[in-house]
């Protein structure tokens, strides 16, 4: 365990593992500090394995069971993901998951399991006004609309012009009619008069959880990049919370495993806004958040956040935390 490892031993071990697995040494140092040697090795090994493809069937366009039958008739292997209403692990037997006519018709959406889970955690209802603050390419926006049965309102915000067309395409393809798409900096959402009852903030991040999908991430980001992301995430969450309706709920998520982009960001917000509290997630998946990462004591309620980790759950790394705004 890391508590028994001296600083020098940790650096030496990190250097050795970084060389063996092709990472920047600072990353491994952090993993060793966070998890110890045994779990770090399991994590590194899991990141070498592919992530299973998953899809979400879309009842806005076609009856869910009909879509499942239709895909199975075409030889697609489907396995229900037990905590998700519409999620399936999928084996397209070598074919591109986006090549079937059912995909073009919007009968299903190819989506990571953690991303689908964030929307179910937010649990939008048909009369909600929901803001999706980093919306492209539209997986979560279309999922929100699906769970709201195309009622209420989904406000999809995206800043990146080049990603707007994929967002709009997916909204159209999936038969979503309760959404508006706004282009702009979500950090300015607090300057609008909108008052969402629910907010989904899957914040832009360093992508440290995506190593199994994108091995280039092993060497592409520095600690300064993580700090930059954390600052931006803090600004986004701060703005979102100011605009959230009293009694409203927000899910903050990233595809990073770095506590600096997750638990630390939430902890800052909890200190700043006493009316915000972390609420338990009542779906069984993943593992608890870290209220004590690297030995730093943060708000204990962060244990109610959830993490997906490649070596524990067979998914990309992901973090999510649900909060409620009191009066």
């Amino acid at each position: 365990m890391i508590c028994l490892m001296s600083r020098r031993e940790l650096k030496t071990k990190a250097k050795e593992l970084a060389k063996r697995y092709g990472y920047l040494p600072y990353m491994i140092e952090r993993y060793l500090s966070l998890w110890g040697q045994e779990e770090t090795l399991r994590f590194l090994s899991a990141c070498e394995k592919p992530i299973r493809t998953a899809i979400r069937v879309n009842p806005l366009r076609n009856d869910a069971s009909s879509t499942v039958e239709s895909l199975e008739r075409k030889g697609v292997g489907l396995e229900k993901i037990h905590w998700l209403q519409y999620g399936y692990y999928s084996d397209f037997k070598g074919y591109s998951p986006g090549s079937l006519i059912e995909y073009m018709l919007g009968y299903y959406y190819i989506q990571g399991v953690p991303s689908m889970t964030t929307v179910e955690v937010l649990d939008p209802k048909p009369d909600d006004i929901v803001a999706d603050l980093a919306a492209a390419p539209g997986g979560k926006t279309t999922h929100l609309a699906q769970l709201m049965d195309n009622s209420g309102l989904v406000i999809a915000v995206e800043q990146d012009k080049s990603r707007l067309s994929s967002l709009k395409s997916n909204i159209l393809r999936c038969g979503v009619t309760n959404a508006i798409v706004l282009r702009g900096d979500a950090r300015k959402i607090d300057q609008t008069s909108l008052e969402p009852t629910k907010i989904l903030l899957d914040a832009p991040c360093s992508g440290e959880g995506l190593i199994p999908l994108d091995p280039s991430r092993k060497t592409s980001k520095s600690m300064a990049d993580i700090r930059y992301c954390a600052t931006r995430q803090d600004e986004l969450l701060d703005s979102a919370i100011r605009r959230l309706a009293v009694g409203g709920e927000i899910v903050y998520a990233t595809c990073s495993i770095a506590p600096e982009e997750n638990e630390y960001v939430i902890d800052d917000i909890l200190r700043k806004y006493p009316e915000i509290r972390v609420v338990p997630i009542d779906i069984e998946f993943g593992s608890p958040g870290y209220p004590n990462p690297y030995g730093v004591q943060l708000d204990d309620s962060l244990k109610h956040a959830r993490r997906f980790l490649p070596h524990l759950h067979g998914t990309e790394g992901f973090f999510m935390c649900k909060m409620k705004k009191g009066g």
Binding site: V157, T177, A179, V181, R183
Partner: protein
Amino acid sequence: MKLELADPILWQSVQTQIDSDFGEGVTRSILANRVPAVIAREGSQSIYLIPYDWMTLADENLDDFEMHHIGLWLGDMVDERFRLGLPILEHLSTLTENIIIVNRLSAESFTYGKSIIKEGVVRLNTTLKRRQRVVVIDQDGQVIGLAALSIDGERLVRLSKEKLVAKNLVDIGWYLRRMG
């Protein structure tokens, strides 16, 4: 880009074009209890159908944001010609006789942007005329796009199998091509 109610002249033009292509009263059925709204872009106007109470969004303070989409996209007005959007075609297919049913091979080819030739046609109403818009449906009943007839329907039986019957105007493959 700001949201505005469609002005009556613009809406009249849209209605005239849809009804003349697909039948009197079709636009009113599509509109139902919604209102037509417009987002103006460079060189075109996108028409959307939205619940009436959403027009309050036009009064929201959204100065730092551009609106790019809202509700149900009906289509775009470009150079005074209205181009129907894909999302409306499924509903439209239940309101009109302007339908062409194509076989599996032709359907697949159509979703790659190809037009429809005689050998791919399973059914076409013989009363339809050249240049009329037709909703394209595959043999499983799935709406896959919109085409313009290149012939009068009554001529279909006399055509050789490789002859063009309907020109592809838009198809569901567009969703993927658009994403790049």
